[in-house]
């Protein structure tokens, strides 16, 4: 762990850790401002996965030979690293395919078997589809109802109205920790307490927080926390569900198959201990090793330093974009209340055209609805452009973005 006295990050130096950031795009320096979609991968992660396949590859939990034991050790070691990162007991750490699957695990293992007509699942208007659609599917099966806590014009949750929506019928409150569109950092500890006061579970989508700031699940008090490897310097194909172990003990499995059983007869099966009860089939072993290396990389830098840097980057993006006349910037204007994913709209310039033009200048931004269509409706737009920074992003990236946006305006304005 690091302390507040740690020196600021030097993004230009960190870029050397990320091979892809050395390449060019259309003859220009690659300015990667889409880390909220997926982060780039440091050499340490690439090396760990490569070494795993070259030196250790075997299936886990089964073989009696040394290689299988080493593979199991690496795989379970990654679980320890992920658990320590977010301060959660290892038996409550389930590896999934991604954060979406983590939410679906909760929806199927708990929701489908538990919810009844009249029960309510409360999510928010700023959720990613991954924390909306699984609940709509469950509601369709069970007769439960999905409700949406409102977002204020300033892009924050309306906590008082949200509190009023949580009642005896509420069985689960699902909330995104940091919005992938607005950047808003939500007070999830407070929301978890609100949920618990009415006997509801609290599920936190920490996809955009775990990569960017210290997250302590015990301190948040959340029952269920989902995040994904590929947005935190790790590979695709691995996500994490952190669940209160007692919940996992009480649930039936989500997926059935190999690995997750204790005994199988032709009549019935019994389940493995948690967390393996929820990890059917051969797991993403190399991906877990890569995730473990990513955790090591981030902890080597210090997530408090990453957060301090991204606070600066959020400010730089807000300042730089504000120079463009008529721009609409979504989400909080106070960098203390937001992450470094900044969505914006320019009048008479469609986000898709912005992203296409910026691409030619070597600048990667996202355009679209960001898998948050309910929020797009609240904001009154079909789509936004979004620039999102990470630990390797610097003020030079913001300058390149703003300069390219000025040229885009001239180009399309005619």
């Amino acid at each position: 762990m690091t302390t507040a006295a740690q020196p600021a990050l030097d993004p230009a130096r960190l870029r050397a850790d990320f091979p892809i950031l050395g390449r060019e795009l259309h003859g220009r320096r690659l300015v990667y401002l889409d880390s909220a979609a997926t982060s780039q991968k440091p050499q340490a992660v690439l090396d760990a996965m490569d070494a795993y396949y070259r030196e250790t590859n075997a299936n886990v939990h089964r073989g009696v030979y040394e290689l299988a034991a080493e593979a199991t050790e690496r795989f379970e070691g990654a679980r320890d690293l992920a658990a320590a990162l977010v301060n959660h007991p290892r038996e409550g750490v389930v590896f999934t395919k991604n954060a979406t699957e983590a939410v679906n695990l909760v929806a199927w293992a708990w929701g489908v078997r538990t919810l009844r007509p009249g029960d309510e699942v409360l999510v928010t208007e700023m959720e990613h589809h991954s924390n909306v659609v699984p609940w709509q599917i469950v509601a369709g099966i069970t007769g439960a109802r999905v409700r949406f806590a409102p977002v204020t014009p300033g892009g924050e949750l309306d906590l008082e109205r949200m509190r009023a929506m949580i009642g005896p019928r509420t069985r689960l409150v699902g909330v995104v920790h940091v919005s992938n569109v607005l950047g808003t950092i939500n007070p999830v500890a407070e929301i978890a307490a609100m949920a618990h006061a009415e006997g509801a579970l609290c599920l936190v989508d920490a996809t955009q927080s775990v990569p960017h700031m210290p997250v302590d699940i015990a301190a948040l008090g959340a029952d269920l926390v989902a995040f994904t490897g590929h947005k935190m310097c790790g590979p695709t194909g691995i996500g994490v569900l952190c669940a209160r172990p007692a919940l996992l003990e009480s649930w039936e499995p989500f997926l059935g198959g190999g690995e997750m059983i204790s005994d199988v007869t032709t009549e019935c099966s019994t389940w493995a201990e948690i967390p393996w009860k929820f990890e059917a089939g051969t797991p993403p072993i190399a991906e877990a090793v890569g995730l473990g290396a990513a955790v090591g990389y981030l902890q080597g830098i210090g997530l408090d330093r990453v957060r301090a840097h991204e606070r600066e980057m959020a400010q730089a993006l807000l300042d730089g974009l504000s120079e463009l006349e008529g721009i609409r910037i979504f989400g909080p204007t106070d960098p203390d209340r937001r992450g470094a994913a900044v969505s914006f709209a320019l009048p008479d310039l469609h986000p898709h055209d912005i992203a296409q033009f910026l691409d030619q200048e070597g600048v990667c931004v996202r355009a679209g609805h960001h898998c948050a269509k309910p929020l797009m409706r609240v904001l009154g737009v079909h789509a936004t452009a979004r620039a999102s920074a990470y630990l390797y992003s610097g003020p030079d990236d913001v300058e390149a973005l703003v300069a390219a946006l000025r040229r885009a305006r001239t180009y399309f304005g005619g």
Binding site: H350, H352, D353, Q356, F357, Q360, H369, H382, G414
Partner: protein, 153 residues
């Protein structure tokens, strides 16, 4: 920036800035609404059909320059055509967008400027949005379709 100018030809930017046949008809024969889930483009298309011909076309909605210019160009290219001719033109344009047919300038008119979009697979759906809406509108009118279909391929 040659690559970009290839995509955004002057004719496209001109149709984007000055859209032809934008708006709505007082008494359309058929109206359809299509959207592109990828980028959120949203288009309402209205046709006035008389004696088996597309007499008037109006389009309205929100979208990127490619989808807006394509709607504008399409509206000019199909006005006055018989319904079978219009459907043939839709199919021709679709094949051009997929690189499977050489564009026929006589029939496409300004829409030939969209030829370069074929090299940007992500944007092909933007160019096709209004054309697929046209196909849907004609088929809806002809009773060949009873439910709206999703845009694109």
């Amino acid at each position: 920036m040659p690559g970009l100018d290839d995509l955004y030809q002057q004719l496209i930017l001109d149709h984007y800035r000055n859209r032809r046949n934008q708006g709505s008809l007082p008494d359309p024969t058929v109206q359809v609404r299509h959207h592109n889930p990828l980028c959120g483009d949203d288009l309402t298309l209205e046709l006035l059909i008389e004696d088996g011909r597309v007499v008037e076309v109006r389009h309205d909605g929100d979208g990127c320059s490619i989808s807006q210019a394509a709607a504008s160009m399409m509206s000019e290219a199909v006005a006055g055509r018989t319904l079978p001719e219009a459907l043939e033109l839709v199919e021709h344009f679709r094949l051009v967008m997929h690189g499977d047919e050489e564009p026929d300038e006589d029939r496409l008119g300004d829409a030939i400027a969209l030829e370069g979009v074929a090299r940007y697979p992500v944007r092909v759906k933007c160019a096709l949005l209004s054309w697929m809406a046209l196909k849907d509108a004609i088929q809806t009118h002809s009773g060949e379709r009873t439910e709206p279909v999703p845009t694109g391929e």
